[in-house]
Subunit: 279 residues, 2 copies
């Protein structure tokens, strides 16, 4: 049994203010007993890829920059695992949409970098992420934690790719966190796709979406609705679509091997027939 | 635009009677203008894998046996593409859960053989398919039809494997038919998984489930509820959960390239990161 939390919040253009807001909510999560806490995609910034503007490139920070330093200190103080997704500067001009995972001693357990990068231009939805982010180079790695649970991460658009969700399962994920910034067209897909990943792979899924309208960003309304989904694909709990919120859940990991044995999906896969997926 | 139909029906232990019942419903589908018609999994028989009993092995028929002869004659007469899933005897002792696809001239377009074979023993659900069926050797092939549409097939348990659904898309499927015999536990998953396949792959899905209680079979109630799902994962129409029914739909294939261009999922896949799926 593990207690874990999702943190959804509004943001503005000022990084320090977003970091403070996140700190406040992460403290609330820890106070309520959460041992693993996940923030939303690019939690330290507005969702800037709504437009192509070189000034937003300066929002990227190195992994030893001030935002991550603050998050590492926070994780160490609260003795939690903290997933703190940021705009990561790996090198000048090599920028990623990343999810660093920090351990309870404040050290980095590792970084997942968003693998699938969208560029969309339709009436209800615009996003030019390919201008800002290099496609991630980490693959669908998982993170064993000191709390006897192995976690995986999909960032936002990654959730539309069942190959990614499956590979996390093959790498031992018991909980998959999905930090997101989503709005508009995809509303009715938010539940559907995360529920399908959970039941196809028989693991827990925690979807974290930002909420409200970014101050100093686009005028889109992010619909929050962060949620926990169980390994049979059923929604356990869901946050509001308008307010900052900490969504805490107690997850019973022992049901995972039980359902997997009952259903046999992993026994009955046919890797010999799946070769086209990687060619 | 293609008009196509799903046929759900009850069965008994007598093959001839099931074939007659199917013929009647396929005629109705053709009368209503359907050019492609799909019957349910093992349409010529009860769902015999509820128990392990050697007498059921005799229900298997060669591809040139009487059931397929009748179906080929019917397809030729009605000038339709007919998917007629049967228990196929390839050789003595080599039996498959198959979906032969017949063209409007009565010739075989090809056979898809169920790739994933379950064996389940939980209170609400028992199925010992591994006793009856060899795992399919065809892979996730697709069938170009004379009606300018390419179709693919997943049989029942195959639908729990997103790798299979994706591979059909990579092979050009515009409509995926899912002949099924499902009951019990999986009820709430029926919609969820087919909707997810449709939207992940941006194609139409037609799920066909048998209905009622098999006469001379188990006492399970098959819940019918055959349905059409559009390429955005929305249910278009759904059949009853108790009655024989022909579910006709007019599918606009032109929306597929449009949505795929808008959303970019196929452009943004990362085959370089998916190698673990086939190893």
């Amino acid at each position: 049994m593990i207690r874990t939390a999702l943190v959804q919040m509004g943001t503005d253009y000022d990084t320090e203010s977003n970091v403070k807001r996140a700190e406040h909510l992460v403290r609330e999560a820890a106070d309520r007993g959460a041992r693993i806490v996940c923030l939303q995609e690019l939690f330290h910034a507005v969702y800037f890829p709504y437009e192509m503007n070189a000034r937003h490139l300066d929002l990227a920070e190195p992994i030893d920059g001030p935002t991550m330093e603050a998050m590492r200190e926070l994780a160490r103080e609260l003795e939690i695992v903290l997933i703190a997704p940021i705009y990561e500067k790996a090198l000048d001009g090599l920028l990623y949409n990343s999810a660093p995972v920090i351990g309870p001693d404040g050290d980095l357990l590792g970084i997942y970098r968003k693998s699938h990068i969208p560029i969309v231009s339709v009436p209800s939805l615009t996003g030019v992420e390919k201008y800002y982010f290099a496609p991630g180079d980490t693959g669908f790695i998982t993170f064993p934690t000191p709390f006897d649970v192995t976690i995986g991460i999909l960032i936002c658009y990654d959730r539309h790719f069942p190959e990614a969700a499956r590979t996390l399962a093959l790498n031992g994920a018991q909980i998959v966190y999905v930090p997101t910034a989503t709005t508009g067209m995809s509303r009715y897909l938010w539940e559907l796709e995360l529920q399908a990943h959970a039941v196809d792979n028989i693991y827990y899924v925690g979807g974290v979406n930002r909420v409200g309208v970014d101050e100093g960003g686009s005028d889109s309304h992010f619909y929050g609705s962060s949620m926990w989904v169980d390994p049979k694909g059923r929604i356990i709990s869901q946050a509001s679509d308008t307010e900052d919120e900490v969504l805490v859940a107690d997850l019973d990991l022992s049901v995972i091997p039980q359902i997997r044995n009952d259903w046999g999906f992993f026994r009955d896969r046919r890797p010999d027939l799946y070769g086209q997926l990687s060619t």
